[in-house]
Amino acid sequence: MPHIALPEGLPGISAGFAFRPETAKPMRELAHILLHEPNSLTPGERELIAAHVSSRNHCQFCYLSHAAVASAHLGDATVVEKVRADFLSAPVSPKMKALLAIAGKVQQDGKLVTAADVAAARKEGATDAEIHDTVLIAAAFSMYNRYVDGLGTWQPDNPAMYAPMGEQLAKAGYLRPTIQAPVPQAK
């Protein structure tokens, strides 16, 4: 049950965005640049970072949404689940493992990132820009997760609901709402 009178039938962050479109606009833009615009990290890799942080923050809506987007980009729904279960043994590159380790530390507290963590990422080929964006994606998802949870938004738990949204976000990015009309809430 949301803590404030959010528009009904809009899941997760879309309810907060509909309530406060002024802040929604730059929040969407930030996600679009970080996750969708051209980058030396693929969109699938960046969505894995977002999903990893959301999973660590136990934010159901954010995890399921970004898992769906990651899966759409990767063409494989199993990778994100394996990252969630244990990223060190997941089928991702050594560079991604090093970046996911950094993201996991930022999720807890940015001060936990050590020079050794960064050196390990560089050793696997991570650039300054990739390290910067990994830190910022993890930081940004620490915001989005708290926003979605802190307002008590409706967070559907049926993964199948998220697949169409994942496809649409993977294709078009984050600048426009993907959910405009209320979604029937299964009881």
Binding site: H3, E29, A115, A138, A139, G150
Partner: protein, 192 residues
Amino acid sequence: MPHIPLAPDLPGIRGAMAFRPETAKPMNEIVEILLHGPHSLTAGERELIATYVSSRNCTEYCHNIHGAIAAAHLGGNEALVKQVKVDFTRAEISPKLKALLTIAGKVQKDGKLVTTADVEAARKEGATDLEIHDTVLIAAAFCMYNRYVDGLATALPDDPAFYRERGKRVARDGYVTVSKEYLAAHAAAVAR
């Protein structure tokens, strides 16, 4: 020592923003709307929420600079800002702001910790839906800015005068205006 090469003359979040101006733009727009634009909560009240969350996250740069901006909005009352960081329940602020700071403190740890009772307590003191929404979002957003500043190990000035002067500037002109100046100056210096 920052984890990536950042401009040495731009400490804290500024060096990071100069590294990546594309993401700096929406980040400055978010904080401009939440902390500086017109609102039923005063700018001083909103900066106190940001300062409190940054203090709980132990992000020195952020709680120093936002504390200075808060003080600038509050007639230079640095003692009040310090009291809010140490124990806001005993600060000379309104009951409504205390209830909102309670919510912000919970969001800082985990948004799921905000209870119906917390929200009811804020409403009882006159908080509106918008004020509750923005309190949650300020707290959430500062969990981002704090992690960004700390996660890159940005430079931390230790001179209170540095923060005091910057605080007055930002309180007067806001985040977007000030950021455009230092980002443009940095870009020009790099081009030379």
